[in-house]
């Protein structure tokens, strides 16, 4: 998730170290928020789908990638904004189609084959993307109208696109929350989440609801792809890079918990951002804890431990966090015991 931290280099160059600095903290809070919200846009859809259908959609991040590629292709002809509008719809329709013609068929075999199916789908989508667009990164860029500095904090400029990302994600969540809690459809969905059989008995078309939820969930992933593509890069590996983090996120949050997904997404966003921004060194930590550095260090079996820095391990911190959480809270932060 490196490219999100657009101003990383200049900040390091200005020589800000470990000293607490409110401005810098603010900058990183914004950066982490962007990452976290992006993660939540994926994990929210994934959680909705999981809690309703019991299926963990391994290909979820692939729909995110499709969102980025579709938006890129559309933006070539009719511009970024139409891409933002159309690409998620296309992705959502594709997702609904996958549910209708793929998952529903595999469903009869059980949850593990379902998971294997979505895994195969993820592989296939990556291959298809490579087939159509090739292996190289696409020149998908932020729209010109947003290529300016929104404001600066102590010399760190915050690009307008970042603010745009935050607003888009928050707007979508408010919309989602509204639909889920204030509309009739939302009520039915919520009921179907917990009592699918009862809802079906009441005459609602549960398979249609499932298909709709799957479509909306994947469309959400598509939106995430559209807005993240220009900053994180639009390339065939993008699904994989983000995908495993998203799965880790929902495990940390607790499978099936929307709040858990939100908290875990923001937590991961901030942890990775901060550990990249502040160069904490294991050497300092070990020295502080009273260990003496073995000399010569290059010959010691512990040399790797001593040379670890926080930016170096930033990307694996979510996994470490997951393992720790699973050991101490097997059901995740907000998971129900019987999930």
């Amino acid at each position: 998730m490196e490219p999100l931290i657009l101003k990383q280099k200049s900040r390091r160059a200005s020589g800000i170290g470990i000293t607490p600095d409110m401005d810098l903290i603010l900058v990183n809070l914004i950066d982490g928020l962007v990452t976290g919200l992006l993660l939540f846009m994926l994990s929210a859809g994934l959680t909705l789908i999981f809690s309703m259908m019991g299926v963990l959609n391994f290909a979820h991040a692939s729909f995110y990638m499709l969102g980025a590629y579709f938006a890129f292709q559309i933006s070539l002809y009719i511009g970024f904004w139409m891409g933002l509008l159309i690409a998620p719809l296309v992705v959502g329709v594709l997702g609904a189609g996958v549910e209708r013609y793929g998952l529903r068929r595999v469903h009869q075999y059980g949850h593990v084959p379902e998971l294997i199916f979505t895994f195969g789908l993820a592989l296939l989508i990556e291959e298809v993307v490579q087939f159509i667009w090739g292996k190289n990164q696409m020149p998908y860029a932020t729209p010109e109208i947003l290529q300016f500095t929104a404001f600066s904090i102590a010399g760190n400029s915050i690009p307008a696109y970042k603010i745009f990302m935050i607003f888009i994600s928050i707007a979508i969540f408010i919309g989602l929350l509204y639909v889920l809690t204030r509309t009739r459809v939302g009520m039915i969905i919520q009921a179907a989440l917990t009592y699918p059989k009862t809802v079906e008995a009441l005459g609602h078309n549960v398979p249609l609801i499932f298909m709709g939820v799957f479509g909306v969930g994947t469309a959400l992933a598509g939106v995430a792809g559209v807005i993240a593509g220009p900053v994180l890069g639009t390339f065939p590996g993008m699904a994989f890079v983000l995908g495993s983090i998203v799965f880790v996120t929902i495990v940390i949050g607790g499978l099936g918990s929307l709040w858990g997904a939100l908290v875990a997404s923001l937590l991961i966003g901030w942890i990775t951002t901060f550990s990249k921004a502040y160069n904490l060194r294991m050497e300092d930590l070990l020295t502080w804890a009273g260990f003496t550095k073995p000399e010569p260090i290059w010959d010691s079996a512990w040399r790797d431990l001593w040379s670890i820095t926080s930016p170096q391990i930033a990307d694996i911190l979510p996994y470490i966090l997951m393992v720790l959480i699973l050991i101490f809270r097997p059901y995740g932060l907000f998971g129900k015991r019987d999930a």
Binding site: L56, V112, L115, G120, L124, E127, F131, G134, V248, I316
Partner: protein
């Protein structure tokens, strides 16, 4: 394999039926002979390389199926156990004094123990639940360890990995494993031993309970077994054999890198195992053989092999969840009825036409790919040993015609095949 409980021989009525007692030795004998003579049939060095790769993949796939097929646990990070076993073995190869004291054929035991050790640690928290939770934990842990390979350089050697030399081991009856063929027999021997052990494991009380827990963990708990511990033991055993596979990889290639650990590798073994079929013991063996052939042979022919593999995999999951082994075992009832022969001609018609149609479709895909991605001005492409200009109409017309005709015949002959299938599976004289 001693028997703890013996019945009273004076009561013949209590003697068990012979069927469930005899472990079928014939297939194992055939396998052993086949492994012996294969290098005399395929003598080329490249063939031996492929066979080595195949044998290693078979062990790994069988180990993987201890989880997926027999235990119902879907792992997205099983390459880690093989990889770590392999890394440990390369380190042993590099410990001059120690390695000089052990013969190379014993090295896989260390790899196995390493894989088992790691599986014990990870399994202690990952096997609490099966299903989705287990799958996600396996993915996370797999990613974590793969990512560690660039951080813990002392063990994993960073991006370039670590390498060793197998020939520094203690000579084994004079053999120093300088030649590929010697390595082949080492791997083949381990293949036979590991496969037999894994097969026998599936016949032990723990192996049977693994199946029970897979099918109905709750019921198993009410029979006195902790589902968690049963899963844990399966996981540890699987880790051991994965480690053996990793060790053999180390012996064969003498180098291990991050690629041996990462999620791609884990995904590939899932692919191979599932394509072969998780429901039968021999499924992963078939899967590993076919998959290795596809990986080594098809990848030389086309850049798009991953694309085809993806399609085949998704189709398998959707329509043939039993994999290749399931497809084969589908024919057992017809065989018992002695009517398998009646399927021959209909199969030839439909599947032959289907194959032609697939080749046509593949040609279309290849040509589209060429049209889109070949460098500008490069119009000439070679397909099925024919070189032509991909920007002219003729090849397209031919490919489209072949595809349509092929699939057309499939459609036309499918009812006859279904008819023949019903016929072959109905005892003669029985009302249909």
């Amino acid at each position: 394999m001693t028997d703890q409980f013996t019945s009273d021989p004076s009561k013949p009525a209590q003697r068990m039926r012979a069927g469930s007692m005899v472990i079928p030795l014939v297939p194992w004998g055939i396998a052993a002979v086949l492994l012996m003579v294969l290098p005399f049939i395929f003598t080329a060095n490249s063939a031996i390389t492929i066979m080595n790769q195949m044998a290693i993949t078979i062990i790994f796939a069988l180990a993987y199926n201890m989880l997926l097929g027999q235990g119902g646990m879907l792992s997205f990070g099983h390459a880690v156990y093989a990889g770590v076993g392999g890394f440990a073995c390369v380190h042993i190869m590099n410990m001059d004094d120690f390695f000089a004291g052990i013969p190379l054929p014993l090295l896989p035991i260390f790899g196995g123990l390493m894989g088992m050790g790691l599986a014990t640690i990870v399994g202690s928290f990952s096997t609490r639940k099966a299903g989705t939770v287990f799958a996600m934990i396996s993915l996370g842990v797999g990613e974590l360890i793969a990512a560690c390979s660039v951080i813990i350089v002392a063990f994993f050697g960073g991006e370039e990995g670590i390498s060793g030399d197998r020939t520094y081991g203690m000579p084994f009856f004079g053999v120093e494993f300088l030649q590929q063929i010697e390595v082949y027999y080492l791997i083949a021997a381990w293949l036979l031993i590991s496969a037999a052990l894994m097969y026998l494991y599936s016949r032990t009380p723990l192996g049977r309970m693994a199946n029970a827990v897979r099918d109905n963990p709750e019921r198993a708990e009410f029979l006195g077994y902790s589902a968690r511990w049963v899963r844990f033991f399966s996981f540890v055993a699987s880790g051991f054999f994965a480690g053996v596979a990793g060790a053999l990889f180390a012996v064969n290639y003498e180098i291990l890198t991050e690629e041996n650990l990462n999620t791609t590798q884990s995904g590939l073994i899932l692919l191979a195992t599932f394509l072969g079929g998780v429901g039968f013991f021999f499924g992963p063996i078939l899967g590993a053989i076919v998959f290795t052939l596809v990986q080594t042979v098809l990848s030389l022919q086309t850049e798009l092999w991953g694309f085809y593999l993806g399609i085949v995999f998704v189709v398998t999951v959707m329509f043939f969840p039993g994999g290749l082994a399931g497809l084969i075992m589908m024919h057992v009832p017809a065989m018992r009825l002695g009517k398998l022969g009646r399927l021959g001609i209909p199969y030839l018609k439909t599947l032959g036409a289907g194959a032609v149609g697939c080749l046509g479709a593949a040609a279309l895909i290849e040509m589209t790919f060429h049209l889109r991605h070949a460098s500008a001005g490069d119009h000439s492409m070679t397909l099925y040993w024919i070189t032509f200009d991909s920007h002219t109409m003729l090849p397209w017309i031919v490919a489209i015609a072949v595809t349509l005709i092929g699939f057309g015949i499939v459609r036309a002959t499918a009812p006859a095949l279904a008819e023949a299938w019903n016929d072959a599976n109905t005892p003669d004289g029985a009302p249909r």
